[in-house]
């Protein structure tokens, strides 16, 4: 399966409280539970959905999540507006 490679995921293990939510919510297995802190094991698979950072009560995970819709982004670029408007179903 192709990977996104480019992403904005940032993780600070020092803040992790080992609640395990990141491992639960990630649909691509980017995080797994670890002994001292969750481990970031597959950064390239991150698709920036933002589920981990939203559910990280400790604030250890940051990611710029967005609607990844090419047509909306192209429209936004063409009309020189900032954020792409949600478009699809």
């Amino acid at each position: 399966m192709a990977r996104s490679r480019t992403n904005t995921l940032e993780y600070n293990p020092a803040l992790c409280n080992r609640c395990g939510m990141c491992g639960v919510v990630c649909p691509h297995g980017v995080f797994v539970p670890g002994d001292d802190a969750a481990r970031l094991v597959d950064r390239d698979a991150c698709m920036e959905c933002g589920a981990c950072s939203l559910n990280c009560e400790a604030g250890a995970i940051k990611v710029e999540s967005d609607v990844g819709c090419a047509s909306a982004m192209i429209m936004a670029a063409l009309t020189r507006r900032g954020a792409p408007a949600p478009c699809c179903g």
Binding site: R5, T6, P27, L54, E64, C69, A70, G89
Partner: protein
Amino acid sequence: MTAADRLVHLLARLGVRRNEWRVRPGLYRLGEAGPDSPVFASANYRLSFDALRGALEGMDAFILVLDTRGINVWCAAGKGTFGTDELVARIEKTGLAEVVTHRTVIAPQLCATGVAAHEVRRRSGFRVKFGPVRAEDIPRFMAGGRAAQEMRRVSFDLKDRAVLIPVEAKTALPFVAGASAAAYAAGEPVGAAGIAAASLAGFVAFPLLLPWLPGEDFSAKGLLLGSIAGLGAAAAGLARDDGTSLPSRAVKAASYALALPPITAFLGLNFTGCTTFTSPSGVRREINRYVRPMAGMAGAGLLLNLAQRVVLGLKGGRDGQE
């Protein structure tokens, strides 16, 4: 699921009478559900609701349908409509705390993009337990008490990709049909067929062949696939004796080879929005990298084609005077 349900699902995918397929938000009781029965949260998109309903068949349970404006779980979560606020509000509006004695809502994993479990607990007292990605895994999830690794991953297999073909076709067809008809009217039957072929390559072959197309970038994969249509049209243009000279036909063939692949590539780039794994950063990078070259190729092909026609017209005019 009955045949009528399946028809509704296809229409819902196509967005036909979309609003009529919305499920009314609220609390639904399945079987003999009582105060101890589990509560499952869902979107008010017909396909989401039916997938859950089907998976819970024979089970005593409640379904808490959120108002996601008729949009599926993952997309609604991404846009925040399947989110913390709506879940908390729906729990309050339905009086869930009076209906059940426990304090757990089982929510689809993919809503985690919009639902912060700790926030929901703090604001409503209900614990959000994230269930599996796919509703069909719920019986195993309930039996085991937790989701196994494979239930937590999204896939994008052949079937997942195939159901998107009508969705993609619906968006692309008006443009494709228009461009193809215009080419035909301009005396370009080969070009018209080429546009149709490049488009079909984009919204049928591309989704189906995605994992096997070489390269990482969707635009590059699309350019490659579109080149087959482009080169095919070029060969047909060269071979077809339309009474013009070979060099003239070669210019026309080159115009096909340039103008057609970007059609497939653009449709391929658009398909990133349908996948379960591309990141917005990755898509942005692809747009920056490919959209200008793609537009350049298409523009160059179109100019070449027009130039060939103008030269041919001038020549024809001169020949007529002699």
